[in-house]
Symmetry: C2
Subunit: 265 residues, 2 copies
DNA sequence: GAAACCACGTGGCTAAGCCACAAGATGTCC
DNA sequence: GGACATCTTGTGGCTTAGCCACGTGGTTTC
């Protein structure tokens, strides 16, 4: 590896190695708690020094994907997959994890030119006016109870041109299937009173609030922009702040129907 | 350093070094963009090998505090201080950063035995029934406009025994002053309709929602537990999810009074 | 004045090794 | 047979002593 082209990349070797190991970790059939490659194995397999191997592995440890155990090896962290974007943004995945049966009702689905969409949408998606978008409105249900109402503009081209039928279940599985790898998302979370139009949809009493998440999903370029309302009485976001090293993104949790009053107000 | 007591600690040397460098970074008068110690300087100063120094510095890089520039040195990252817990949880700090004048009204402040408090409070604070708590209700204002209402139980002993007068401005500055270093916090964020009792306080119309953040602040032990309501029309949480390495905790942003409708609903 | 050059310090990376630690296999004693 | 000590093996932690590629700034040259 000492003279090949990879050395000419701008990124340091340990950084490239970090990426390759991450791929391997995700695609190699590793599960939480599994033993990962040792420093020596990595060094041998990629023809690098043990120290470089260690530095790359350390990156995965710092990112929370692995765990070092002295005298034993490197292990896939239990919560590593929860770090996955899928777990952070996929309703289907989250609902299933909390033991409830997810379902979806597609309320609207149409194609439009970006020029017809709101200017803020065009800007956030970074598209020319001629670009084809798909607008879709979906109601997500857990055990038949409506809990999320989402409105989404997606760039057809970049998302594998989904049709109405493709959006009837998990959007993230669809992206997977067509080979689109989501690499990031930005969320803005606000609290709003449920609009009258949604009150019936979400089966809420007047005066109940929802968490409105405005989010942009990205791969190389923006893939979609969404406004999603989470029932205030069924969802909460968790956020752990840590001084020092390993932060975790906030994540939404679906609550059980009877978890209402847990505050001493 | 080869034989002294620090080696007997359970934590690897590079980890301990990481902590010491973090202290140095915070307390050493470093500002964003400043040049930090080089690997060789760290190695020399602490009597360790360059590689161990690099590994500790790498930790700070991974955590977003530093930035490596090959051939130049290690530099303090511009947003490093935003990572600080202070920036994440201190209202005074956030308000000042967004260019608005913070103020505080202490609505209530009394001491009580933990035994008198709600059982959930006792559990979350991990205290015996005899432990003395301080309960405080505060209204936080930005440019005179009420934006946050907070109710907080704090463990008097662990928080430097603050009195009513000490809670009239930033609680985090107070903790600093009495030498308490906050090391972590957990937040649960929900959306609730503003209770009638708070409607007047926050000067909100009926049917407006608030972000209710239930949080526990910790040092070695839990310091306080709080329920804080952020005006839904003035606050939003940001959350950036990244595939791979450097996640950032969600953070609350105070909006300008005229930033109301930014959604294409 | 501008361009080419050079020296120096930096992080990136290697080599070859020893250490402390964890765990399983082996052996020993009762 | 069972309990306990010991050995062996493999792991991550850490060191020494380098060379390399890169950025920067000063110096020289034209």
């Amino acid at each position: 590896m000492s003279t090949d082209a990879s050395r000419l990349n701008r990124m340091p070797v340990y950084h490239q190695l970090n990426d390759r190991l991450l791929e391997l970790l995700r695609g190699g059939g590793y599960g939480p708690g599994d033993r990962f490659l040792t420093e020596r194995e990595v060094a041998a397999r990629f023809g690098l020094s043990r120290i470089t191997a260690n530095k790359a592995l350390s990156g995965l440890v710092a990112a929370g994907h692995l765990e070092f155990r002295k005298g034993v090896g490197s292990f896939v962290r239990g919560e590593a997959l929860e770090n996955d974007l899928r777990a952070l943004v996929s309703f289907t995945h989250k609902a299933a994890r909390s033991g409830r049966k997810p379902s979806t009702r597609v309320l609207a689905c149409r194609r439009l030119a970006a020029g017809e969409a709101d200017v803020s949408v065009r800007r956030e998606l970074d598209v020319r006016d001629a670009e084809v978008l798909v607008y879709v409105e979906r109601l997500r249900l857990a055990d038949g109870e409506p809990v999320i109402f989402e409105r989404r503009h997606l760039v057809a081209e970049r998302c594998g041109n989904p049709g109405r039928r493709d959006l009837g279940s998990s959007f993230y599985e669809w992206l997977d299937r067509v080979g689109v790898r989501v690499t990031g998302a930005e969320q803005r979370i606000r609290a709003v009173a449920v609009p009258p139009s949604e009150r019936r949809l979400l089966q809420l009493r007047e005066g109940v609030a929802v968490l409105r998440v405005h989010a942009v999903g990205r791969a190389a370029a923006p893939l979609w922009v969404e406004d999603t309302d989470y029932r205030g009485d069924r969802y909460e976001f968790h956020n752990v702040l840590t001084d020092g090293v390993p932060p975790r993104p906030a994540r939404a949790t679906l609550l059980q129907p009877d978890t209402d009053a847990h505050l001493h107000a």
